[in-house]
Symmetry: C2
Protein backbone atom coordinates (compact mmCIF):
# COMPACT_ATOMS: atom_id res chain seq x y z
CA UNK A 1 0.00 0.00 0.00
CA UNK A 2 1.39 3.42 -0.77
CA UNK A 3 1.72 6.10 1.87
CA UNK A 4 -1.33 8.05 0.67
CA UNK A 5 -3.54 4.97 0.92
CA UNK A 6 -2.10 4.25 4.36
CA UNK A 7 -2.99 7.76 5.46
CA UNK A 8 -6.54 7.32 4.14
CA UNK A 9 -6.93 4.22 6.28
CA UNK A 10 -5.54 6.02 9.29
CA UNK A 11 -8.12 8.76 8.88
CA UNK A 12 -11.03 6.35 8.49
CA UNK A 13 -10.15 4.32 11.57
CA UNK A 14 -9.08 7.20 13.79
CA UNK A 15 -12.56 7.85 15.08
CA UNK A 16 -13.33 4.27 16.04
CA UNK A 17 -9.94 3.84 17.69
CA UNK A 18 -10.31 7.07 19.65
CA UNK A 19 -13.73 5.98 20.82
CA UNK A 20 -11.97 3.28 22.88
CA UNK A 21 -9.65 5.78 24.58
CA UNK A 22 -10.77 6.54 28.09
CA UNK A 23 -9.02 8.77 30.63
CA UNK A 24 -6.21 6.25 31.17
CA UNK A 25 -4.77 6.72 27.68
CA UNK A 26 -1.96 9.26 27.51
CA UNK A 27 -2.58 11.11 24.29
CA UNK A 28 -0.38 13.05 21.92
CA UNK A 29 2.73 11.00 22.33
CA UNK A 30 3.66 10.86 18.68
CA UNK A 31 2.54 7.58 17.28
CA UNK A 32 5.47 5.19 17.61
CA UNK A 33 3.91 3.68 20.72
CA UNK A 34 0.76 4.06 22.78
CA UNK A 35 0.80 4.88 26.49
CA UNK A 36 -1.67 3.91 29.17
CA UNK A 37 -1.81 4.78 32.83
CA UNK A 38 -2.06 1.91 35.32
CA UNK A 39 -5.70 1.76 36.44
CA UNK A 40 -5.99 3.30 39.91
CA UNK A 41 -6.81 1.35 43.05
CA UNK A 42 -4.82 -1.79 42.25
CA UNK A 43 -2.34 -2.85 44.93
CA UNK A 44 1.00 -4.11 43.64
CA UNK A 45 -0.15 -4.05 40.01
CA UNK A 46 1.25 -6.57 37.56
CA UNK A 47 1.03 -6.43 33.78
CA UNK A 48 -0.56 -9.54 32.26
CA UNK A 49 -0.30 -10.06 28.53
CA UNK A 50 -1.07 -12.60 25.82
CA UNK A 51 -0.62 -12.65 22.05
CA UNK A 52 -2.90 -14.67 19.80
CA UNK A 53 -4.22 -15.12 16.32
CA UNK A 54 -7.61 -16.28 15.13
CA UNK A 55 -6.14 -19.18 13.15
CA UNK A 56 -7.59 -20.14 9.80
CA UNK A 57 -10.87 -18.46 10.68
CA UNK A 58 -9.23 -15.66 8.68
CA UNK A 59 -9.67 -17.76 5.55
CA UNK A 60 -13.43 -17.95 6.05
CA UNK A 61 -13.50 -14.18 6.58
CA UNK A 62 -11.44 -13.62 3.44
CA UNK A 63 -13.68 -15.90 1.41
CA UNK A 64 -16.83 -14.21 2.74
CA UNK A 65 -15.27 -10.74 2.46
CA UNK A 66 -16.49 -10.02 5.98
CA UNK A 67 -13.72 -8.59 8.12
CA UNK A 68 -15.17 -6.96 11.21
CA UNK A 69 -16.02 -10.17 13.07
CA UNK A 70 -12.44 -11.48 13.12
CA UNK A 71 -11.39 -8.09 14.47
CA UNK A 72 -13.72 -8.71 17.40
CA UNK A 73 -12.62 -12.36 17.69
CA UNK A 74 -9.00 -11.51 18.30
CA UNK A 75 -9.85 -8.99 21.01
CA UNK A 76 -12.17 -11.38 22.87
CA UNK A 77 -9.72 -14.27 22.54
CA UNK A 78 -6.98 -12.23 24.17
CA UNK A 79 -9.32 -10.91 26.85
CA UNK A 80 -10.30 -14.46 27.83
CA UNK A 81 -6.66 -15.54 27.94
CA UNK A 82 -5.63 -12.90 30.45
CA UNK A 83 -8.87 -13.31 32.40
CA UNK A 84 -7.75 -16.86 33.13
CA UNK A 85 -4.75 -15.39 34.94
CA UNK A 86 -7.03 -13.04 36.86
CA UNK A 87 -6.46 -9.83 34.88
CA UNK A 88 -8.92 -7.50 33.21
CA UNK A 89 -8.14 -6.07 29.76
CA UNK A 90 -6.72 -2.55 29.58
CA UNK A 91 -5.08 -2.19 26.18
CA UNK A 92 -5.01 -4.05 22.89
CA UNK A 93 -2.73 -3.85 19.84
CA UNK A 94 -3.60 -5.51 16.55
CA UNK A 95 -1.44 -6.75 13.68
CA UNK A 96 -2.92 -7.20 10.21
CA UNK A 97 -0.93 -8.39 7.19
CA UNK A 98 -1.60 -9.43 3.62
CA UNK A 99 0.19 -9.56 0.31
CA UNK A 100 -1.72 -6.48 -0.76
CA UNK A 101 -3.53 -4.15 1.61
CA UNK A 102 -7.03 -3.00 0.85
CA UNK A 103 -7.58 0.09 3.01
CA UNK A 104 -11.27 -0.70 3.44
CA UNK A 105 -10.51 -4.21 4.64
CA UNK A 106 -8.04 -2.87 7.18
CA UNK A 107 -10.60 -0.36 8.38
CA UNK A 108 -13.26 -3.07 8.76
CA UNK A 109 -10.91 -5.22 10.82
CA UNK A 110 -9.89 -2.33 13.04
CA UNK A 111 -13.49 -1.20 13.50
CA UNK A 112 -14.43 -4.71 14.56
CA UNK A 113 -11.56 -4.73 17.04
CA UNK A 114 -12.43 -1.25 18.30
CA UNK A 115 -16.05 -2.22 18.83
CA UNK A 116 -15.04 -5.28 20.87
CA UNK A 117 -12.52 -3.22 22.84
CA UNK A 118 -15.22 -0.68 23.63
CA UNK A 119 -17.43 -3.36 25.16
CA UNK A 120 -14.54 -4.44 27.40
CA UNK A 121 -13.51 -0.93 28.50
CA UNK A 122 -10.20 -1.68 26.81
CA UNK A 123 -8.20 0.86 24.80
CA UNK A 124 -7.20 -0.02 21.25
CA UNK A 125 -3.75 1.36 21.97
CA UNK A 126 -1.87 0.57 18.80
CA UNK A 127 -1.67 -1.50 15.70
CA UNK A 128 0.36 -2.34 12.66
CA UNK A 129 -0.67 -3.14 9.12
CA UNK A 130 1.90 -4.74 6.87
CA UNK A 131 1.92 -5.40 3.16
CA UNK A 132 4.10 -8.42 2.41
CA UNK A 133 4.00 -9.28 -1.29
CA UNK A 134 4.90 -12.91 -1.87
CA UNK A 135 4.43 -13.99 1.73
CA UNK A 136 0.66 -14.43 1.81
CA UNK A 137 -1.54 -16.22 -0.71
CA UNK A 138 -3.68 -13.97 -2.91
CA UNK A 139 -6.79 -12.70 -1.09
CA UNK A 140 -5.68 -14.18 2.21
CA UNK A 141 -4.59 -12.24 5.28
CA UNK A 142 -3.52 -12.86 8.84
CA UNK A 143 -4.58 -11.15 12.01
CA UNK A 144 -2.91 -11.28 15.41
CA UNK A 145 -3.22 -9.19 18.51
CA UNK A 146 -1.70 -8.57 21.87
CA UNK A 147 -3.90 -8.03 24.91
CA UNK A 148 -2.48 -6.22 27.92
CA UNK A 149 -4.22 -6.28 31.26
CA UNK A 150 -3.46 -5.37 34.83
CA UNK A 151 -4.18 -7.19 38.06
CA UNK A 152 -3.19 -6.96 41.68
CA UNK A 153 -0.46 -9.52 42.24
CA UNK A 154 -2.20 -10.85 45.36
CA UNK A 155 -5.37 -11.44 43.33
CA UNK A 156 -3.84 -13.40 40.45
CA UNK A 157 -5.42 -16.79 40.00
CA UNK A 158 -3.38 -19.33 41.96
CA UNK A 159 -4.06 -22.81 40.62
CA UNK A 160 -2.55 -24.35 43.74
CA UNK A 161 -5.76 -23.43 45.55
CA UNK A 162 -7.63 -26.11 43.57
CA UNK A 163 -8.71 -29.03 45.80
CA UNK A 164 -10.06 -32.51 45.07
CA UNK A 165 -13.83 -32.26 45.20
CA UNK A 166 -13.92 -28.76 43.73
CA UNK A 167 -16.61 -28.19 41.14
CA UNK A 168 -16.14 -27.57 37.43
CA UNK A 169 -18.63 -25.06 36.06
CA UNK A 170 -18.68 -24.62 32.29
CA UNK A 171 -19.62 -21.43 30.47
CA UNK A 172 -21.24 -21.83 27.06
CA UNK A 173 -19.44 -21.16 23.81
CA UNK A 174 -21.49 -19.94 20.87
CA UNK A 175 -19.80 -22.18 18.29
CA UNK A 176 -16.24 -22.77 17.13
CA UNK A 177 -14.90 -19.52 18.60
CA UNK A 178 -11.44 -19.44 16.96
CA UNK A 179 -10.34 -23.06 17.03
CA UNK A 180 -10.64 -26.08 14.80
CA UNK A 181 -11.08 -24.13 11.59
CA UNK A 182 -8.64 -26.23 9.57
CA UNK A 183 -10.76 -29.31 10.26
CA UNK A 184 -14.06 -27.45 9.93
CA UNK A 185 -13.05 -25.99 6.57
CA UNK A 186 -12.15 -29.47 5.33
CA UNK A 187 -15.50 -30.87 6.44
CA UNK A 188 -17.50 -28.01 4.87
CA UNK A 189 -15.38 -27.77 1.73
CA UNK A 190 -18.17 -29.01 -0.57
CA UNK A 191 -20.72 -26.46 0.69
CA UNK A 192 -21.31 -22.85 -0.21
CA UNK A 193 -20.88 -20.43 2.67
CA UNK A 194 -24.49 -19.42 2.00
CA UNK A 195 -25.77 -22.96 2.53
CA UNK A 196 -28.32 -23.26 5.31
CA UNK A 197 -28.12 -26.57 7.14
CA UNK A 198 -31.43 -27.21 8.89
CA UNK A 199 -29.52 -28.02 12.10
CA UNK A 200 -27.97 -24.57 12.10
CA UNK A 201 -30.94 -22.56 10.90
CA UNK A 202 -28.71 -19.88 9.46
CA UNK A 203 -26.18 -19.58 6.63
CA UNK A 204 -22.96 -21.48 7.19
CA UNK A 205 -20.99 -18.23 6.99
CA UNK A 206 -22.89 -16.79 9.96
CA UNK A 207 -22.20 -19.91 11.97
CA UNK A 208 -18.50 -19.99 11.10
CA UNK A 209 -17.93 -16.28 11.64
CA UNK A 210 -19.90 -16.03 14.90
CA UNK A 211 -17.78 -13.86 17.19
CA UNK A 212 -15.70 -15.61 19.86
CA UNK A 213 -17.45 -14.84 23.16
CA UNK A 214 -15.73 -12.83 25.82
CA UNK A 215 -16.32 -13.95 29.41
CA UNK A 216 -14.98 -10.79 31.00
CA UNK A 217 -18.38 -9.33 31.88
CA UNK A 218 -19.67 -12.68 33.14
CA UNK A 219 -16.72 -13.32 35.42
CA UNK A 220 -15.41 -9.91 36.37
CA UNK A 221 -17.34 -9.70 39.64
CA UNK A 222 -16.90 -13.39 40.42
CA UNK A 223 -13.10 -13.58 40.12
CA UNK A 224 -12.58 -13.85 43.91
CA UNK A 225 -14.56 -17.09 43.83
CA UNK A 226 -12.61 -18.62 40.92
CA UNK A 227 -9.96 -21.12 42.04
CA UNK A 228 -8.78 -21.74 38.51
CA UNK A 229 -10.16 -21.53 35.00
CA UNK A 230 -9.27 -22.60 31.49
CA UNK A 231 -10.05 -20.83 28.26
CA UNK A 232 -10.99 -23.68 25.91
CA UNK A 233 -8.95 -23.01 22.77
CA UNK A 234 -6.80 -25.24 20.51
CA UNK A 235 -6.49 -28.66 22.11
CA UNK A 236 -10.03 -28.48 23.48
CA UNK A 237 -11.12 -29.67 26.91
CA UNK A 238 -8.44 -32.36 27.04
CA UNK A 239 -5.44 -30.08 26.64
CA UNK A 240 -6.58 -26.80 28.15
CA UNK A 241 -7.98 -27.88 31.51
CA UNK A 242 -4.71 -29.60 32.61
CA UNK A 243 -2.87 -26.32 31.99
CA UNK A 244 -4.63 -24.79 34.98
CA UNK A 245 -4.57 -27.71 37.42
CA UNK A 246 -1.84 -28.81 39.85
CA UNK A 247 -0.03 -31.89 38.49
CA UNK A 248 -1.68 -34.18 41.05
CA UNK A 249 -5.24 -33.41 39.99
CA UNK A 250 -7.59 -34.22 37.13
CA UNK A 251 -11.24 -33.60 36.34
CA UNK A 252 -14.24 -35.71 35.40
CA UNK A 253 -16.82 -34.01 33.21
CA UNK A 254 -20.29 -35.38 32.53
CA UNK A 255 -21.24 -35.35 28.88
CA UNK A 256 -24.75 -33.98 28.68
CA UNK A 257 -24.27 -31.54 31.53
CA UNK A 258 -24.06 -28.65 29.07
CA UNK A 259 -25.63 -27.70 25.76
CA UNK A 260 -23.54 -28.61 22.74
CA UNK A 261 -24.13 -26.21 19.83
CA UNK A 262 -25.47 -28.13 16.81
CA UNK A 263 -22.47 -27.20 14.64
CA UNK A 264 -20.34 -29.75 16.49
CA UNK A 265 -22.71 -32.67 15.88
CA UNK A 266 -22.95 -31.56 12.25
CA UNK A 267 -19.16 -31.59 11.86
CA UNK A 268 -18.87 -34.97 13.58
CA UNK A 269 -21.49 -36.48 11.31
CA UNK A 270 -20.41 -34.88 8.01
CA UNK A 271 -16.71 -35.43 8.60
CA UNK A 272 -16.92 -38.83 10.29
CA UNK A 273 -14.78 -37.39 13.10
CA UNK A 274 -14.61 -39.54 16.22
CA UNK A 275 -15.63 -38.19 19.61
CA UNK A 276 -12.12 -38.15 21.02
CA UNK A 277 -10.78 -36.09 18.13
CA UNK A 278 -13.76 -33.73 18.34
CA UNK A 279 -12.92 -33.05 22.00
CA UNK A 280 -9.25 -32.47 21.16
CA UNK A 281 -9.95 -30.02 18.33
CA UNK A 282 -13.12 -28.15 19.30
CA UNK A 283 -14.44 -26.52 22.44
CA UNK A 284 -17.59 -28.71 22.18
CA UNK A 285 -19.76 -25.98 23.64
CA UNK A 286 -17.51 -24.98 26.52
CA UNK A 287 -15.92 -21.55 26.19
CA UNK A 288 -14.52 -21.40 29.68
CA UNK A 289 -14.20 -24.04 32.36
CA UNK A 290 -14.24 -22.56 35.86
CA UNK A 291 -13.13 -24.42 38.96
CA UNK A 292 -14.60 -23.27 42.24
CA UNK A 293 -15.45 -24.50 45.72
CA UNK A 294 -18.62 -26.61 45.72
CA UNK A 295 -20.43 -24.09 47.91
CA UNK A 296 -19.92 -21.36 45.28
CA UNK A 297 -21.35 -23.22 42.30
CA UNK A 298 -24.70 -21.47 42.55
CA UNK A 299 -23.07 -18.05 42.23
CA UNK A 300 -21.81 -18.97 38.78
CA UNK A 301 -24.77 -21.05 37.61
CA UNK A 302 -27.42 -18.51 38.58
CA UNK A 303 -25.59 -15.37 37.58
CA UNK A 304 -24.15 -16.43 34.22
CA UNK A 305 -26.68 -17.34 31.51
CA UNK A 306 -26.08 -20.85 30.24
CA UNK A 307 -23.48 -21.78 32.87
CA UNK A 308 -23.83 -25.26 34.32
CA UNK A 309 -22.20 -27.58 36.80
CA UNK A 310 -20.38 -30.14 34.66
CA UNK A 311 -17.98 -32.08 36.82
CA UNK A 312 -15.58 -32.35 39.70
CA UNK A 313 -11.89 -32.25 40.45
CA UNK A 314 -10.35 -35.57 41.50
CA UNK A 315 -6.99 -36.78 42.76
CA UNK A 316 -5.14 -38.29 39.85
CA UNK A 317 -4.30 -41.99 40.14
CA UNK A 318 -1.30 -43.35 38.28
CA UNK A 319 -2.01 -43.85 34.60
CA UNK A 320 -5.27 -41.93 34.63
CA UNK A 321 -6.16 -39.32 32.05
CA UNK A 322 -6.15 -35.75 33.39
CA UNK A 323 -9.53 -35.04 31.83
CA UNK A 324 -12.21 -37.72 31.50
CA UNK A 325 -15.50 -37.07 29.78
CA UNK A 326 -18.06 -39.51 31.12
CA UNK A 327 -20.61 -40.36 28.45
CA UNK B 1 1.79 -28.95 13.52
CA UNK B 2 0.41 -31.67 15.77
CA UNK B 3 0.30 -31.33 19.51
CA UNK B 4 3.32 -33.59 20.09
CA UNK B 5 5.48 -31.50 17.75
CA UNK B 6 4.22 -28.35 19.45
CA UNK B 7 5.26 -29.76 22.80
CA UNK B 8 8.73 -30.59 21.44
CA UNK B 9 9.16 -26.96 20.39
CA UNK B 10 7.98 -25.76 23.76
CA UNK B 11 10.60 -27.90 25.48
CA UNK B 12 13.40 -26.74 23.22
CA UNK B 13 12.68 -23.05 23.66
CA UNK B 14 11.80 -23.15 27.33
CA UNK B 15 15.37 -22.66 28.47
CA UNK B 16 16.10 -19.66 26.27
CA UNK B 17 12.81 -18.03 27.17
CA UNK B 18 13.37 -18.59 30.89
CA UNK B 19 16.84 -17.09 30.60
CA UNK B 20 15.13 -13.74 29.94
CA UNK B 21 12.99 -13.94 33.07
CA UNK B 22 14.34 -11.76 35.82
CA UNK B 23 12.81 -11.18 39.24
CA UNK B 24 9.96 -9.09 37.82
CA UNK B 25 8.34 -12.02 36.05
CA UNK B 26 5.59 -13.71 38.04
CA UNK B 27 6.05 -17.38 37.37
CA UNK B 28 3.78 -20.39 37.50
CA UNK B 29 0.63 -18.66 36.37
CA UNK B 30 -0.51 -21.38 34.01
CA UNK B 31 0.45 -20.39 30.52
CA UNK B 32 -2.52 -18.54 29.05
CA UNK B 33 -0.82 -15.22 29.78
CA UNK B 34 2.44 -13.97 31.21
CA UNK B 35 2.65 -11.62 34.18
CA UNK B 36 5.25 -9.00 35.01
CA UNK B 37 5.62 -6.73 38.00
CA UNK B 38 5.94 -3.01 37.36
CA UNK B 39 9.65 -2.15 37.73
CA UNK B 40 10.18 -0.47 41.10
CA UNK B 41 11.11 3.17 41.55
CA UNK B 42 9.00 4.62 38.74
CA UNK B 43 6.64 7.42 39.78
CA UNK B 44 3.20 7.32 38.16
CA UNK B 45 4.14 4.46 35.86
CA UNK B 46 2.52 4.22 32.43
CA UNK B 47 2.53 1.22 30.13
CA UNK B 48 3.94 1.99 26.68
CA UNK B 49 3.45 -0.54 23.91
CA UNK B 50 3.99 -1.03 20.21
CA UNK B 51 3.31 -3.88 17.80
CA UNK B 52 5.42 -4.40 14.68
CA UNK B 53 6.53 -6.82 12.04
CA UNK B 54 9.82 -7.11 10.19
CA UNK B 55 8.17 -6.74 6.79
CA UNK B 56 9.39 -8.76 3.85
CA UNK B 57 12.76 -9.24 5.51
CA UNK B 58 11.08 -12.52 6.49
CA UNK B 59 11.28 -13.60 2.85
CA UNK B 60 15.06 -13.19 2.82
CA UNK B 61 15.26 -15.18 6.04
CA UNK B 62 13.04 -17.92 4.60
CA UNK B 63 15.10 -18.07 1.43
CA UNK B 64 18.36 -18.22 3.39
CA UNK B 65 16.87 -20.60 5.97
CA UNK B 66 18.32 -18.40 8.70
CA UNK B 67 15.73 -17.58 11.31
CA UNK B 68 17.39 -16.29 14.45
CA UNK B 69 18.25 -12.82 13.12
CA UNK B 70 14.65 -11.84 12.36
CA UNK B 71 13.76 -12.94 15.87
CA UNK B 72 16.25 -10.35 17.13
CA UNK B 73 15.06 -7.77 14.57
CA UNK B 74 11.51 -7.74 15.80
CA UNK B 75 12.60 -7.29 19.42
CA UNK B 76 14.94 -4.41 18.63
CA UNK B 77 12.40 -2.74 16.34
CA UNK B 78 9.81 -2.71 19.10
CA UNK B 79 12.35 -1.57 21.69
CA UNK B 80 13.28 1.43 19.52
CA UNK B 81 9.62 2.30 18.96
CA UNK B 82 8.81 2.57 22.64
CA UNK B 83 12.14 4.25 23.38
CA UNK B 84 10.97 7.12 21.18
CA UNK B 85 8.13 7.65 23.64
CA UNK B 86 10.59 7.57 26.54
CA UNK B 87 9.98 4.04 27.77
CA UNK B 88 12.40 1.18 28.38
CA UNK B 89 11.46 -2.36 27.33
CA UNK B 90 10.12 -4.71 30.00
CA UNK B 91 8.30 -7.50 28.20
CA UNK B 92 7.99 -8.85 24.68
CA UNK B 93 5.55 -11.25 23.03
CA UNK B 94 6.18 -12.76 19.60
CA UNK B 95 3.83 -14.12 16.96
CA UNK B 96 5.10 -16.55 14.33
CA UNK B 97 2.91 -18.06 11.61
CA UNK B 98 3.35 -20.17 8.49
CA UNK B 99 1.36 -22.60 6.39
CA UNK B 100 3.29 -25.44 7.96
CA UNK B 101 5.29 -25.14 11.16
CA UNK B 102 8.78 -26.56 11.36
CA UNK B 103 9.52 -26.87 15.09
CA UNK B 104 13.21 -26.14 14.56
CA UNK B 105 12.43 -22.95 12.67
CA UNK B 106 10.14 -21.79 15.44
CA UNK B 107 12.82 -22.54 18.00
CA UNK B 108 15.43 -20.59 16.00
CA UNK B 109 13.16 -17.56 15.79
CA UNK B 110 12.33 -17.68 19.48
CA UNK B 111 15.98 -18.14 20.45
CA UNK B 112 16.91 -15.10 18.37
CA UNK B 113 14.18 -13.11 20.07
CA UNK B 114 15.21 -14.38 23.51
CA UNK B 115 18.83 -13.45 22.89
CA UNK B 116 17.86 -9.91 21.90
CA UNK B 117 15.50 -9.64 24.87
CA UNK B 118 18.31 -10.73 27.18
CA UNK B 119 20.54 -7.89 25.95
CA UNK B 120 17.76 -5.40 26.70
CA UNK B 121 16.88 -6.76 30.16
CA UNK B 122 13.46 -7.49 28.71
CA UNK B 123 11.43 -10.60 29.50
CA UNK B 124 10.20 -12.74 26.63
CA UNK B 125 6.83 -12.98 28.34
CA UNK B 126 4.76 -14.85 25.82
CA UNK B 127 4.32 -15.92 22.27
CA UNK B 128 2.09 -17.67 19.81
CA UNK B 129 2.89 -19.91 16.88
CA UNK B 130 0.16 -20.56 14.37
CA UNK B 131 -0.08 -23.00 11.51
CA UNK B 132 -2.38 -21.60 8.84
CA UNK B 133 -2.52 -23.90 5.83
CA UNK B 134 -3.56 -22.02 2.70
CA UNK B 135 -2.90 -18.56 4.13
CA UNK B 136 0.85 -18.31 3.63
CA UNK B 137 2.84 -19.17 0.53
CA UNK B 138 4.92 -22.35 0.71
CA UNK B 139 8.16 -21.86 2.69
CA UNK B 140 7.20 -18.33 3.72
CA UNK B 141 6.35 -17.19 7.23
CA UNK B 142 5.47 -14.02 9.07
CA UNK B 143 6.75 -12.69 12.34
CA UNK B 144 5.28 -9.95 14.50
CA UNK B 145 5.82 -8.90 18.06
CA UNK B 146 4.51 -6.67 20.76
CA UNK B 147 6.90 -4.73 22.99
CA UNK B 148 5.70 -3.53 26.37
CA UNK B 149 7.64 -0.96 28.35
CA UNK B 150 7.10 1.21 31.35
CA UNK B 151 7.97 4.85 31.96
CA UNK B 152 7.20 7.51 34.50
CA UNK B 153 4.43 9.66 33.04
CA UNK B 154 6.31 12.84 33.88
CA UNK B 155 9.32 11.57 31.97
CA UNK B 156 7.57 10.64 28.73
CA UNK B 157 9.03 12.41 25.74
CA UNK B 158 7.04 15.59 25.14
CA UNK B 159 7.54 16.76 21.57
CA UNK B 160 6.17 20.18 22.46
CA UNK B 161 9.49 20.91 24.13
CA UNK B 162 11.18 21.03 20.71
CA UNK B 163 12.29 24.59 19.81
CA UNK B 164 13.51 26.20 16.59
CA UNK B 165 17.29 26.05 16.65
CA UNK B 166 17.39 22.68 18.42
CA UNK B 167 19.94 20.25 17.06
CA UNK B 168 19.30 17.02 15.20
CA UNK B 169 21.77 14.29 16.12
CA UNK B 170 21.62 11.11 14.06
CA UNK B 171 22.53 7.64 15.30
CA UNK B 172 23.95 5.23 12.74
CA UNK B 173 21.99 2.35 11.28
CA UNK B 174 23.89 -0.76 10.24
CA UNK B 175 21.99 -1.26 6.99
CA UNK B 176 18.37 -1.66 5.99
CA UNK B 177 17.19 -2.59 9.50
CA UNK B 178 13.66 -3.79 8.72
CA UNK B 179 12.48 -1.41 6.02
CA UNK B 180 12.55 -1.20 2.27
CA UNK B 181 12.85 -4.94 1.70
CA UNK B 182 10.26 -5.09 -1.04
CA UNK B 183 12.32 -2.65 -3.10
CA UNK B 184 15.65 -4.18 -2.07
CA UNK B 185 14.48 -7.66 -3.04
CA UNK B 186 13.41 -6.37 -6.44
CA UNK B 187 16.79 -4.72 -7.00
CA UNK B 188 18.76 -7.80 -5.92
CA UNK B 189 16.48 -10.33 -7.61
CA UNK B 190 19.09 -11.37 -10.18
CA UNK B 191 21.78 -12.09 -7.58
CA UNK B 192 22.42 -15.11 -5.41
CA UNK B 193 22.21 -14.43 -1.68
CA UNK B 194 25.81 -15.69 -1.54
CA UNK B 195 27.02 -13.05 -4.01
CA UNK B 196 29.71 -10.79 -2.60
CA UNK B 197 29.53 -7.25 -3.97
CA UNK B 198 32.92 -5.57 -3.56
CA UNK B 199 31.18 -2.55 -2.02
CA UNK B 200 29.72 -4.72 0.72
CA UNK B 201 32.68 -7.00 1.32
CA UNK B 202 30.44 -9.77 2.60
CA UNK B 203 27.77 -12.07 1.17
CA UNK B 204 24.54 -10.33 0.27
CA UNK B 205 22.65 -12.49 2.76
CA UNK B 206 24.75 -11.20 5.64
CA UNK B 207 24.09 -7.63 4.57
CA UNK B 208 20.36 -8.14 4.17
CA UNK B 209 19.93 -10.08 7.40
CA UNK B 210 22.08 -7.78 9.54
CA UNK B 211 20.16 -7.34 12.79
CA UNK B 212 18.18 -4.13 13.28
CA UNK B 213 20.13 -2.13 15.85
CA UNK B 214 18.63 -1.31 19.19
CA UNK B 215 19.40 2.15 20.59
CA UNK B 216 18.23 1.40 24.10
CA UNK B 217 21.70 1.05 25.59
CA UNK B 218 22.98 4.12 23.74
CA UNK B 219 20.15 6.37 24.86
CA UNK B 220 18.97 4.95 28.17
CA UNK B 221 21.10 7.29 30.28
CA UNK B 222 20.60 10.26 27.97
CA UNK B 223 16.79 10.26 27.86
CA UNK B 224 16.47 13.34 30.09
CA UNK B 225 18.36 15.31 27.41
CA UNK B 226 16.21 14.10 24.51
CA UNK B 227 13.55 16.61 23.45
CA UNK B 228 12.16 14.32 20.78
CA UNK B 229 13.34 11.46 18.64
CA UNK B 230 12.24 9.47 15.64
CA UNK B 231 12.88 5.83 14.90
CA UNK B 232 13.60 5.81 11.16
CA UNK B 233 11.41 3.02 9.80
CA UNK B 234 9.07 2.75 6.80
CA UNK B 235 8.76 6.16 5.17
CA UNK B 236 12.37 7.02 5.98
CA UNK B 237 13.61 10.39 7.18
CA UNK B 238 10.87 12.27 5.34
CA UNK B 239 7.92 10.59 7.03
CA UNK B 240 9.25 9.63 10.44
CA UNK B 241 10.79 12.88 11.66
CA UNK B 242 7.56 14.91 11.23
CA UNK B 243 5.75 12.38 13.46
CA UNK B 244 7.75 13.68 16.43
CA UNK B 245 7.73 17.41 15.74
CA UNK B 246 5.11 20.05 16.60
CA UNK B 247 3.15 21.02 13.46
CA UNK B 248 4.87 24.38 13.24
CA UNK B 249 8.38 22.98 12.95
CA UNK B 250 10.56 21.24 10.39
CA UNK B 251 14.17 20.15 10.15
CA UNK B 252 17.04 20.68 7.75
CA UNK B 253 19.54 17.84 7.51
CA UNK B 254 22.92 18.11 5.83
CA UNK B 255 23.67 15.25 3.48
CA UNK B 256 27.21 14.13 4.20
CA UNK B 257 26.96 14.78 7.93
CA UNK B 258 26.69 11.06 8.60
CA UNK B 259 28.10 7.87 7.14
CA UNK B 260 25.82 6.19 4.64
CA UNK B 261 26.31 2.39 4.60
CA UNK B 262 27.39 1.25 1.12
CA UNK B 263 24.31 -0.93 0.64
CA UNK B 264 22.23 2.17 -0.04
CA UNK B 265 24.48 3.50 -2.80
CA UNK B 266 24.53 0.00 -4.27
CA UNK B 267 20.73 -0.20 -4.33
CA UNK B 268 20.44 3.29 -5.82
CA UNK B 269 22.88 2.44 -8.59
CA UNK B 270 21.66 -1.09 -9.38
CA UNK B 271 17.99 -0.19 -9.21
CA UNK B 272 18.20 3.27 -10.74
CA UNK B 273 16.27 4.57 -7.74
CA UNK B 274 16.21 8.35 -7.41
CA UNK B 275 17.47 10.07 -4.27
CA UNK B 276 14.06 11.24 -3.14
CA UNK B 277 12.60 7.74 -3.31
CA UNK B 278 15.66 6.31 -1.54
CA UNK B 279 15.05 8.71 1.35
CA UNK B 280 11.35 7.79 1.49
CA UNK B 281 11.95 4.04 1.53
CA UNK B 282 15.22 3.51 3.41
CA UNK B 283 16.78 4.85 6.58
CA UNK B 284 19.84 5.96 4.54
CA UNK B 285 22.17 5.29 7.46
CA UNK B 286 20.11 6.93 10.17
CA UNK B 287 18.61 4.53 12.69
CA UNK B 288 17.40 7.14 15.11
CA UNK B 289 17.16 10.93 14.80
CA UNK B 290 17.43 12.65 18.16
CA UNK B 291 16.46 16.27 18.76
CA UNK B 292 18.15 18.02 21.66
CA UNK B 293 19.15 21.45 22.87
CA UNK B 294 22.27 22.71 21.06
CA UNK B 295 24.25 22.73 24.30
CA UNK B 296 23.67 18.98 24.75
CA UNK B 297 24.88 17.82 21.34
CA UNK B 298 28.28 16.83 22.66
CA UNK B 299 26.75 14.44 25.19
CA UNK B 300 25.27 12.41 22.36
CA UNK B 301 28.09 12.74 19.84
CA UNK B 302 30.86 11.81 22.26
CA UNK B 303 29.06 9.09 24.14
CA UNK B 304 27.41 7.22 21.28
CA UNK B 305 29.76 5.65 18.72
CA UNK B 306 28.99 6.92 15.23
CA UNK B 307 26.53 9.61 16.34
CA UNK B 308 26.86 12.94 14.56
CA UNK B 309 25.30 16.37 14.45
CA UNK B 310 23.30 16.40 11.23
CA UNK B 311 20.97 19.37 11.24
CA UNK B 312 18.72 21.82 12.99
CA UNK B 313 15.09 22.43 13.74
CA UNK B 314 13.52 25.38 11.95
CA UNK B 315 10.20 27.22 12.01
CA UNK B 316 8.13 25.99 9.10
CA UNK B 317 7.22 28.59 6.49
CA UNK B 318 4.08 28.13 4.43
CA UNK B 319 4.58 25.58 1.66
CA UNK B 320 7.88 24.29 2.98
CA UNK B 321 8.69 20.61 3.30
CA UNK B 322 8.85 19.39 6.89
CA UNK B 323 12.16 17.63 6.26
CA UNK B 324 14.74 19.02 3.83
CA UNK B 325 17.93 17.18 3.05
CA UNK B 326 20.51 19.72 1.88
CA UNK B 327 22.88 18.13 -0.62
Amino acid sequence: MDIAAANAVIDRIRESVHSTHGPLVVSDIGGFGGALRIPPGINDPVIVSSIDSVGTKVSIAAQARRYDTVGADIVNHGANDILVVGALPCAFLDYFAASRLDPDVVADVVEGAASACGKLDCALLGGETAELPGVYQENEFDLAGCMIGVASEAELIDIDRVRPGDAVVVLPSNGLHTNGYSLARRVFRGYSLDHVFPELGRPLVDELLAVHRSYVRDLRELLPMVRSMAHITGGGLFDNIPRVLPDSLGVDLEWGAWQVPPVFELIRKLGGVDFDEMCHVFNMGVGMAVICAPENVDEFVYRIPGASLAGTVRTLQQGEERVRILT
